[in-house]
């Protein structure tokens, strides 16, 4: 029998034998009475750990766990030791095991909550969800469990659920807590409820002024509201307090870049040798603004290389390809034609499609200036409804949609549509006077089939941009894309091609109310393009004067991208041409993937 390593130790790196670790048969674990006999020794291990005598604590914990792999306190000690040693694989295994141990609810809640926090600390919010939820179920009256679940929901995009748990945490605490209030404020910021968020930040920072993250969040709220000078001042003040805080410094650099102050950004970032990838990317964007193309590409390449070296992340297309193949096979004209559709609702979504950096946020901002429009951005995306459909119907998505042909399940499209509408009503997007709510969720590209069933006649506006400009712009952004496509230009190109392929499939197989518009036209003549969009969606509206200045007041909720709001400009259109001229081989590797789409999108005939 293989034990994972030749010496019998577990391959996770816990230091335990595999049979006492990942290959243990839980049925064979000692009973609670036997485990209790070891409690005193385990308490000793805990004392050693608390006294920072880690080696001794580790040795004792290993001995105890070899006898009883389910000894809670010893397991906890070994988990903490491995975590402190950054032996992630081992800590993952031990933490998950600890969270799964049977025991009294309070202990289970504690273990699950701690493991969830451990994952949150590493930015692994989606993985943390089941443990955070388990902690709440085990201890529903403990404020901290709700707080952690609030963080997890907020950071995985379920902002309304996140808000609910933050408020429950506050209610259970019976007092105002600076940390929870700060996190709730961030949640409201993500909902676009900027005024509420700012008020909460004020309160939170009064209670906990030693919270640079909170100050940063507040500055971002103020920046998104368009009060850039005030945000700048706040960041300056914070940097004076915490001059070594990299997060605050990077926020200030972002503000510099948004205000077209590339030189100031470069000076603030300092020498590149000590910079982390997000800082190097910001450096690259600063050089881009200065027109120093070679320097920009060097900085960006250095950032991506460092990221790859540190995380080992490269583009992982397998799951994406499998999903595309599955959806292409399912969503065909002959199948979808017979599936039931939802009826009409109180407002009409306008789906804004576009590869990241194509310009759909600019279009959303411009439309938001018109009466009757609200900016939904990424609020409660249809992708969540695909998961909900699996719950309402039997089987996996999308095959489960076949169930809608049977009996009462025909009502499911209407149920899903109501689930789409409810959060928009709750956060004030669907308010009197709003006829159209834009939906800019990046995941919509995969879900046009479901969108067709929920909103059969909703306009789908696809913002196109030259593919070379898209990969060039994305490679400079500090943004995680599906499949880690941001890792390099080749991955970005392939990810783009997958996007384009999926859209082509849906357009070929479904009757969509689809209109393509080009970023290049939008920045050249915004009035003409927006008028074309309005005509297409059946809205008669005269564009106000100064429309392209993009600075008219817009009602909340306001999406985060409003932080980058500026007058329509042409400097980013066809940018790749200058880069290609300066670096003729820059796109050589991606050309075979992108060029067919350059032709299909009609950019070749436009002289590109």
């Amino acid at each position: 029998m293989s034990l994972g390593t030749t010496d019998g130790l577990c391959s996770c790196g816990s230091g335990l034998r595999a049979l006492r670790c990942c290959q243990a048969d839980r049925e064979q674990w000692p009973g609670q009475d036997a485990v209790t006999l070891l409690d005193e020794k385990a308490a000793e291990a805990t004392r050693l750990f608390n006294k920072k005598e880690h080696s001794e604590a580790e040795a004792l914990a290993l001995t105890i766990l070899d006898a009883a792999p389910n000894q809670r306190a010893a397991l906890r000690v070994l988990f903490e030791v491995r975590n402190a040693q950054r032996r992630i694989k081992a800590a993952d295994a031990l933490g998950a095991r600890l969270a799964g141990l049977p025991g009294p609810p309070a202990l289970r809640a504690l273990a699950s909550g701690q493991y969830a926090q451990y994952l949150v600390g590493q930015g692994r919010h989606a993985e943390a969800l089941p443990f955070a939820a388990a902690a709440v179920k085990a201890a529903p009256k403990v404020a901290q469990t709700h707080h952690v679940l609030g963080v997890v929901f907020t950071e995985t995009g379920a902002v309304l659920a996140g808000e609910r748990h933050y408020r429950q945490a506050l209610a259970l605490l019976g007092r105002e807590d600076g940390m929870v209030l700060g996190n709730l404020a961030w949640n409201l910021k993500l909902q676009g409820r900027l005024s509420d968020a700012e008020a909460l930040y004020e309160k939170a920072l009064t209670l906990r002024p030693d919270n640079p993250r909170g100050v940063g969040g507040r500055a971002q709220v103020i920046f998104t509201k368009g009060e850039r000078a005030r945000a700048d001042a706040l960041l300056d003040e914070a940097l004076a307090c915490w001059p070594q805080d990299r997060m605050l410094r990077l926020l200030k650099v972002m503000a510099d870049l948004a205000c077209q102050r590339p030189q100031a950004a470069l000076e603030r970032l300092g020498p590149p040798e000590a910079q982390m990838p997000p800082e190097l990317l910001a450096r690259g964007r600063a050089f881009m603004q200065l027109g120093q193309k070679q320097e920009a590409i060097s900085a960006i390449a250095a950032a991506r290389m460092t990221q790859r070296e540190r995380t080992g992340k490269v583009y992982q297309p397998a799951a994406l390809l499998a999903r595309v193949a599955r959806d292409e096979a399912y969503f065909t004209a002959d199948r979808v034609r017979h599936l039931p559709r939802a009826g009409t609702g109180p407002f009409m979504p306008v789906f804004l499609l576009g590869f990241p950096r194509a310009g759909s946020s600019l279009l959303e901002q411009l439309l938001a200036q018109l009466p009757g429009f609200a900016s939904g951005d990424e609020t409660a995306p249809v992708a969540e409804l695909a998961r909900a459909a699996e719950g309402l119907l039997s089987g996996g998505y999308p095959e489960c949609l076949d169930e809608m042909l049977v009996g009462e399940a025909a009502r499911v499209p209407n149920q899903l549509r109501q689930m789409y509408e409810a959060p928009r009503q709750k956060i004030g997007l669907a308010r009197p006077g709003v006829q159209f709510i834009t939906d800019r969720a990046a995941s919509n590209v995969w879900h046009l089939g479901l969108i067709k069933l929920l909103y059969p006649e909703a306009p789908v506006i696809h913002v196109l941009r030259h593919p070379y400009d898209l990969v060039l712009s994305n490679i400079a952004q500090d943004r995680k894309l599906e499949g880690d496509a941001q890792a390099g230009l080749p991955g970005l190109a392939q990810y783009f091609a997958l996007h384009a392929r999926m859209i082509r499939h849906y357009r070929g197989q479904l009757t969509l109310r689809y209109l393509p518009v080009r970023y290049e036209d939008l920045v050249m003549d915004p009035d003409a393009v927006v008028s074309r969009v309005l005509t297409f969606i059946g809205m008669e509206a005269a564009l106000p004067s100064g429309f392209a200045l993009n600075n008219r007041p817009v009602a909340e909720p306001l999406p985060a991208h409003f932080a980058g709001r500026e007058a329509v400009h042409r400097r980013s259109a066809w940018r790749f041409k200058d880069y290609q001229a300066a670096m003729p081989n820059l796109f050589s590797e991606v050309a075979p993937v992108l060029d067919p789409w350059v032709r299909e999108f009609g950019y070749e005939e436009r002289g590109a």
């Binding site: 006649e457 859209i503 357009r507 070929g508 689809y514 297409f536």
Partner: protein, 460 residues
């Protein structure tokens, strides 16, 4: 002579040349094209200058869609063995498929010169004359083929098409009767001892009318059913399920069936496409159009949907760009959606594609200026199409069933036609006596669509 058919590997297989050639021919005839391709490549590698290997390899290349390669191989084959009549005969067909009609004509004439006793060589040459609109020559050469083989059904049919296209309908209908002896017509008529109807009066319900040929033909000739019903009341009409809702609109029909098993008790039968001959049809006495109409409720429903789906203030142009790929002339009549570029550039139109079939996928690659709504996925049947057409300003279509549907229901339409069109569109006219609501746009040169598209779009 032997040929080593696997020259590169260690396990070289040697087989007699005749056997290898025979195997290759059989693979091609059995449509095992990948295997045939592989064998041809290996044989060519062993004997690159063998004319018959080159000839067969060319046929295989052609059938695999590699036309340029096929021509190169077959030209080389002919050059190596210039006295073999089969080679220019085959090449004539391949040139025709490639749209190289001058070369096809030369090859066809050479084949006839080398084998004047070969009926098929004459037939191939007749096809080229048809494509070049040399209709008298087409008839003459087809007749030469028939003089060598009077039972040559394809030559009869080719002669019919040339006569009908030339407007010589009465003569054309007689030769047209040979269509049921064509290989592809097998199974179109019931296996029966009953006679074909000759236009005599019959008792009610005793005539079986068969919706033969394509959907478009059935729509076009459906207008003759009321005439037949005057002589043989309440005829039974057999047709495919797709046509049922259309043909059932015609007056005088007893019942409509979609299975041969339901065709009991008839005493004579007639294919639908045989009715024009019996009715003595000429261009001056074609029964009028307007014999089909959409279901009013369905039309109203589509009207409301289109109001919601399409932007206001733009001309609605319905579009069909491709026909059924298995149609014998599909290469000639079908286009790619992208070939309608002048239409896409128009600011004043919205394009509503009513295309059906696999080709709807092309709508996914459309990025033109004019909005395009791909209605095909929502179209269940011809009734939907007809209902939609009631709400468009004009249909722009190739020669396919939708053109007939529009014509039969008097929808303003523009039909783009190949240089040598199907006989029913006749020659040298921008209209058609079959359907007054149709405007015809013809290729000025074979296989060249640019000019046609430009003209038809300018007239919208």
């Amino acid at each position: 002579m032997n040929v080593a058919v696997q020259p590169l590997g260690p396990d070289k297989v040697v087989m007699p040349l005749a056997e290898a050639l025979n195997k290759l021919a059989k693979l091609e005839q059995a449509n095992k094209l990948a295997e045939a391709d592989d064998l041809a490549a290996r044989m060519l590698a062993a004997m690159p200058e063998h004319p018959h290997i080159l000839q067969l390899a060319g046929i295989v290349s052609y059938r695999n869609g590699r036309v340029a390669e096929a021509i190169e191989q077959m030209e080389k084959s002919e050059a190596l063995s210039p006295e073999t009549a089969l080679y220019p005969r085959n090449l004539c067909e391949v040139y025709r498929g490639a749209g190289r009609l001058d070369d096809a004509l030369r090859a066809g004439q050479r084949a006839v010169q080398l084998a004047p006793e070969d009926a098929r060589s004459h037939f191939n040459l007749a096809l080229i004359h048809y494509e070049r609109l040399e209709l008298d020559e087409a008839v003459r050469v087809a007749e030469q083929a028939l003089s060598l083989d009077p039972e040559f059904a394809e030559a009869h049919f080719e002669k019919a098409e040339a006569l009908l296209l030339a407007g010589r309908l009465k003569e054309g209908w007689e030769s047209y009767e040979w269509r049921f002896k064509l290989k592809q017509a097998e199974g179109m008529l019931p296996k029966t001892e009953k006679p074909q109807w000759q236009g005599q009066a019959m008792e009610a319900g005793k005539l079986l009318i068969i919706g033969d040929q394509g959907f478009g033909d059935c729509v076009q000739f459906g207008r003759f059913i009321p005439w037949a019903a005057l002589l043989a009341p309440q005829p039974v009409v057999a047709c495919s399920t797709e046509l049922l809702p259309l043909l059932s609109q015609l007056p005088g029909i007893g019942k409509i069936i979609t299975r041969w098993d339901d065709a009991l008790g008839y005493e004579a039968y007639i294919p639908l496409s045989g009715l024009p001959r019996l009715a003595g049809t000429t261009v001056d006495n074609i029964p009028p159009s307007g014999y089909l109409a959409p279901n009013p409720e369905l039309a109203a429903c589509w009207g409301r949907r289109l109001e919601r789906l399409t932007p206001k203030g733009k001309k609605r142009i319905a579009l069909v760009w491709a026909g059924r790929p298995t149609h014998k002339n599909d290469k000639k009549r079908s286009l790619k959606l992208s070939q309608f570029a002048p239409l896409f550039a128009r600011d004043d139109v919205v394009i509503l594609t009513v295309q059906k079939g696999d080709q709807i996928a092309q709508a996914g690659g459309y990025y033109g200026h004019a909005p395009l709504i791909n209605l095909g996925p929502e179209i269940e049947d011809f009734l939907d199409t007809m209902a939609i057409l009631q709400h468009v300003d004009r249909l722009l279509t190739i020669d396919t069933s939708v053109a007939h549907l529009a014509g039969a229901s008097d929808v303003p339409s523009s039909v783009i036609l190949p240089y040598a069109p199907d006989w029913r569109w006749m020659l040298n006219r921008g209209d058609t006596p079959w359907y007054p609501s149709l405007r015809l746009y013809r290729q000025s040169e074979p296989y060249k669509w640019e000019d046609v598209i430009r003209r038809v779009v300018a007239d919208l």
